[in-house]
């Protein structure tokens, strides 16, 4: 018999709907995985076993009935600490649930724990968490990616059936690629950001980790849709599973474009090989592959770091020790309260980005940096739209390298920023992108590829993802529990 923790979210929901009592057993199986795995990988921060047990006991029906999940720690959860991986929010417990958390709960899903992440989602490895680095379950000396690394690790190890993460620039797809998972960055405005602690508001989007395309689509259908609490949600953002073909033949007749011009340099050979394997696999599934042209991604990185840091400098201004969170107790005047609280509360990467963003918005520099970045962003969006014209999606690597070693890039911010080189374009353009597991390196590290579609084309991405999944085939390769 398949253990509960190996089951898909869809399978669990069906079993619980048929036999409500099984939800508790399902939860216990996942809690056991947490006990077994988490000491080695440190995927989780606050756990809510009591709340989860009550929820599982009450689970009856709903599309995610009794399905255990974890949420990145920048998603507000009523009564459960939400730290964003930062000392400055260490004592913070939100009084409300993020819209997406509430929608999942209404569908019967069971929140088990909050997942570790880079501080305020700033990073690509979880090494910037104030509460310790998460580790890649396929090689404990390597990073799981970031910033949503904890969510990825929890899903990859069977601590949760799926997880919520968030993307500002690749923070779901890259860790999904590093941990053998499907990872969706939806169209901007399709999932409500209400309750997602903001980093770069015009880029932020909640994302989904799952082990299969079908599970990812299932969770997406529950979570997506307009929200009266978020004016940036799309009125037509709801997603229906009706008529969605996720069979191996689902991609037949579709076309993907490969931007070969940006894949010539700086690509790890095993990643390049995985890209070729993905193209061949899609070909076998009846998907046409053609070449397209994309703007060199270095421009995306520069544009991204101006816009994201500018918005972050403003978004993070509220963490000042006045109303909630950490407060320096030895401040004797207002300025000292601010500088001591923020100086001690924020880690070095967050501090760096606040300073960068403050500078980019300053009088005399705004035109040279922020305004220029907004113009560049429009160009990037147009360029991506042009590349998508005539194809159903783009196919390209998610990360230029397989998972890197812990500490390898921690002292070199620029090298770390460049690990997001292929993912950032979709965030700047606001279009959806889906990481799909593709292959493993010789040493057993996962490599994913991503499909990037036009706005609101998640359905197409799911079809292509299912086609790729089917064509690659084979048993899931679970990480081995360290002895």
């Amino acid at each position: 018999m398949t253990p509960h923790w190996k089951k898909s979210a869809g399978a669990i929901a069906r079993e619980v709907a048929a036999q409500p009592g099984t939800a508790s057993a399902v939860l216990e199986a996942h809690l056991e995985r947490i006990s077994a795995w988490d000491p080695s990988v440190h995927a989780l921060l606050a756990r809510d076993e009591q709340g989860a047990r009550a929820k599982a006991k009450a689970a009856r029906g709903g599309p995610l009935a009794g399905v255990p999940f974890v949420a990145k720690d920048n998603l507000c959860t009523r009564g459960v600490p939400t730290t964003c991986g930062s000392k400055i929010l260490e004592p913070y417990v939100p009084p409300y649930d993020a819209t997406v958390i509430a929608r999942l709960a209404a569908a019967g899903a069971v929140l088990v724990a909050k997942a570790n992440c880079d501080e305020f989602a700033m990073g690509s490895s979880t090494e910037n968490s104030a509460f310790g680095t998460s580790r890649n379950p396929y090689d404990l000396t390597r990073v799981p990616g970031g910033s949503s690394g904890g969510s990825a690790v929890a899903t990859a190890t069977g601590m949760a059936a799926f997880a919520l993460g968030s993307e500002t620039g690749g923070s779901v797809r890259q860790p999904a690629s590093f941990t053998n998972l499907v990872g969706l960055k939806p169209t901007y405005g399709r999932l409500s950001r209400y309750g997602l602690v903001a980093f770069g508001s015009s880029l932020d989007q909640i994302g989904i980790f799952a082990r299969t395309v079908a599970d990812c689509a299932l969770v997406f259908a529950v979570a997506a849709g307009p929200d009266e609490n978020d004016m940036t949600t799309r009125p037509d953002g709801a997603f229906s599973l009706d008529g969605l073909d996720l069979s191996p033949g689902a991609g037949k007749g579709l076309t993907v474009g490969v931007p070969r011009n940006i894949l010539k340099e700086g690509l790890d050979p095993e990643v390049a090989a995985a890209q070729v394997a993905a193209e061949e696999a899609l070909g076998r599934a009846g998907v046409r592959v053609k070449e397209v042209h994309l703007v060199p991604p270095a421009a995306c990185v520069a544009t991204y770091y101006l816009i994201a840091t500018a918005e972050a400098s403003s978004n993070l201004a509220r963490f000042d020790g006045v109303r909630y969170g950490y407060r320096a107790s030895d401040a004797t005047d207002l300025l000292a309260l601010y500088t001591k609280t923020r100086g001690r509360g924020f880690g070095p990467e967050v501090t760096r980005r606040i300073l960068l963003g403050t500078f980019a918005l300053s009088a005399g520099y705004y035109d040279a940096y922020y305004r220029l970045a907004l113009q560049a962003r429009r160009r990037i969006r147009e360029d991506l739209a042009a590349a998508l014209d005539g194809v159903d999606a783009l196919l390209l690597p998610t990360s230029p390298t397989p998972p890197f070693a812990i500490g390898e890039k921690a002292q070199d911010p620029l090298a770390m920023y460049l690990s997001d080189i292929f993912t950032i374009g979709a965030n700047l353009a606001g279009v959806p992108a889906l990481n799909v597991p593709c292959s493993f390196t010789g040493s057993g590290l996962p490599i994913g590829v991503q499909l990037v579609g036009a706005a609101a084309a998640e359905g197409t991405l799911f079809r292509l993802g299912a086609a790729l999944e089917g064509a690659i085939g084979g048993e899931r390769r679970w990480p081995e529990l360290p002895s």
Binding site: N74, L75, C76, T82, C84, L89, Y92, P94, P95, Y96, A98, R193, Y194, G195, L196, V197, A198, G200, S201, S202, E228, N229, D230, M231, T232, A310, E311, S313, S314, A317, R318, F319, D320, V322, R323, Y324, L334, Y338, T358, L361, S362, A363, Y366, Y370
Partner: protein, 498 residues
């Protein structure tokens, strides 16, 4: 409700060698049901920190949702000013740290405001003085700081966030006002307008209208503007007027001595008539404005404009015009009554209840205004004692000849403490005038008998004696005889009447 304002004398400009140039920035706090970006109640005077939610408290993860009613308010103001409404405008973040500002940025508008241009007329009817308006935009209010309170050896600042997120319109004039008196009239007229528009109570003491003034001086006739200073937080119309006067004097003294005015922000202490520098130019904030990513562009639809147009009430000048032409009031009455839209409304309700317009105007501008001033009554207070129908009934007593002149004022005074109908009060207190000739005739005869000499003089052609006899008759009736009837009767009995 206040007594009719006497026309203000020009406040003398203390300096003639310099021409002041003044611009005003007024924050108008909107009286919407809910706050600007959340559904919390927008209410003044609640217990501190009771009107809060994650949004107006700026909790992590919260997002703003625009209150359409606030947009309606700024559209009505734009229409009243004849300003341009931009169909697409942008919210922007104004970034600076202050403890009573929950997000440490304020959602405002910057380079693409919803309204630009227009004029505010601060002149008289028929003699307009149009002050050009630079812009009006929407933004959110901050909380309030109460500082510092001594707590043992610590000094504590207390914060109340009830006001955080209350909708504001910031209305900025062009630097086009020439004196503190013009600034006074600008604010008076603006307050009248925004009250008529129903977008605020306009109460400066409650902070519903807050004013900053920019002041510079230049040689008369010069084209270039001088260096300006900004006076912040002028929280009464008097403070605006006097603060500007003080700043004009301060700058003139500097310039007269050959010095240069330094750009700075000042605070004015109205109690001590003193200006203090709050920050100099070097410490000016860099607000790092950028487009608010949490709000889509503000789009004003045809329907929204149409609604604003439909909801636009009659403006004071048009109303005064109508009082003159349709109701036949003198221009003076029309201006006095429409100076306060609540008074004008009360007047119209009294007329609608059947009062003759001029009579209603006389009562409202006379006894009602006098008593309101004595007792500090608002129009609402007036209406508790004098509902429109009741005042109309009082006015009607005069028209029907039941009471007149001083007797009517006595009835009015009695109505303050007696809830009865005016006529009943007049009768019960014997204030009704006697109009029955047969009831008066014996008295007339008695007066003539007692004053045979003057009666004889009158019959001999001495017309003056008639006034004396009439006076005697009125005295004999305790002032209650209907004067016209009494006059006719007297002539009759003297052998001259019909």
């Amino acid at each position: 409700m206040s007594a009719p304002a006497a026309s203000r004398s020009q406040v003398g400009n203390p300096v003639s060698a310099w021409e002041p140039v003044i611009g005003l920035e007024v924050h108008i706090q909107l009286r919407t049901e809910s706050k600007m970006f959340c559904s919390c109640a927008n209410r003044f005077g609640a217990e501190p920190n009771t009107l809060l939610c994650p949004v107006c408290l700026g909790l992590p993860g919260s997002l703003p949702v625009l209150n359409e009613r606030a947009v309606g308010s700024v559209l009505r103001l734009a229409l009243a000013l004849g300003a341009e409404v931009h169909r697409r405008s942008i919210f922007a973040r104004k970034n600076y740290f202050y403890p009573d500002m929950p997000k440490n940025y304020q959602i405002s508008q910057y380079d693409e405001p919803v309204v630009t241009g227009g004029t505010l007329d601060i002149g008289e009817r028929g003699a307009p003085r149009l002050v050009p308006i630079h812009r009006c935009h929407l933004e959110e209010d901050t909380g309030k700081s109460f500082h510092p309170e001594k707590q043992g050896d610590r000094r504590e600042t207390r914060l109340d966030f009830n006001r955080a997120g209350v909708p504001l319109i910031e209305m900025v004039s062009e630097p086009a006002l020439a004196s503190s008196d013009e600034a006074y009239r600008y604010l008076t007229r603006l307050r009248q307008l925004v009250r008529v528009l129903g977008i605020t109570d306009g109460d400066m003491e409650k902070g519903s209208l807050r004013c900053d003034a920019n002041v510079s001086l230049r040689r008369p006739g010069a084209k270039e503007l001088g260096t300006k200073t900004e006076i912040k937080n002028l929280n009464s119309i008097r403070a605006v007027e006097r603060g500007i006067e003080a700043e004009i004097r301060r700058q003139a003294a500097i310039l007269d001595a050959g010095g240069r005015v330094e750009q700075c922000t000042l605070l004015y202490d109205v109690d001590h008539d003193a200006l203090a520098v709050m920050r100099s130019k070097e410490f000016a904030h860099d607000y790092r404005y950028f487009p608010e990513p949490d709000l889509p562009p503000l789009l004003v639809s045809d329907a929204a404009l149409e609604t604003a147009r439909r909801e636009l009430p009659e403006l004071p000048a048009a109303r005064a015009e109508r009082f003159e032409t349709a109701l036949g009031l003198p221009a003076y009455d029309a201006d006095v009554l429409t100076a306060d839209y609540e008074v004008a409304g009360y007047f119209e309700r009294v007329v609608a209840a059947g009062a003759e317009p001029k009579a209603a105007s006389n009562w409202i501008m006379g006894e009602v205004a006098r008593v309101s001033k004595e007792r500090g009554w608002s129009v609402a207070d007036v209406e508790k004692t004098f509902p429109p129908a009741r005042l109309a009934a009082l006015a009607d007593l005069g028209k029907r000849g039941l009471v007149s002149g001083n007797l009517a004022k006595e009835v009015f005074a009695a109505m303050l403490d007696d809830a009865g109908e005016p006529e009943a009060i007049a009768r019960a207190r014997g204030l009704v005038q006697e109009s029955d000739p047969e009831a008066l005739r014996p008295l007339v005869r008695q007066v003539l008998a007692e004053n045979a000499g003057p009666a004889e003089e009158f019959r001999a052609g001495k017309e003056k004696a008639f006034g004396f006899l009439l006076g005697q008759l009125m005295r004999a009736t305790g002032g209650k005889a209907n004067p016209q009837i009494a006059r006719d009767l007297l002539r009759q009995e003297l052998g001259q009447g019909p």
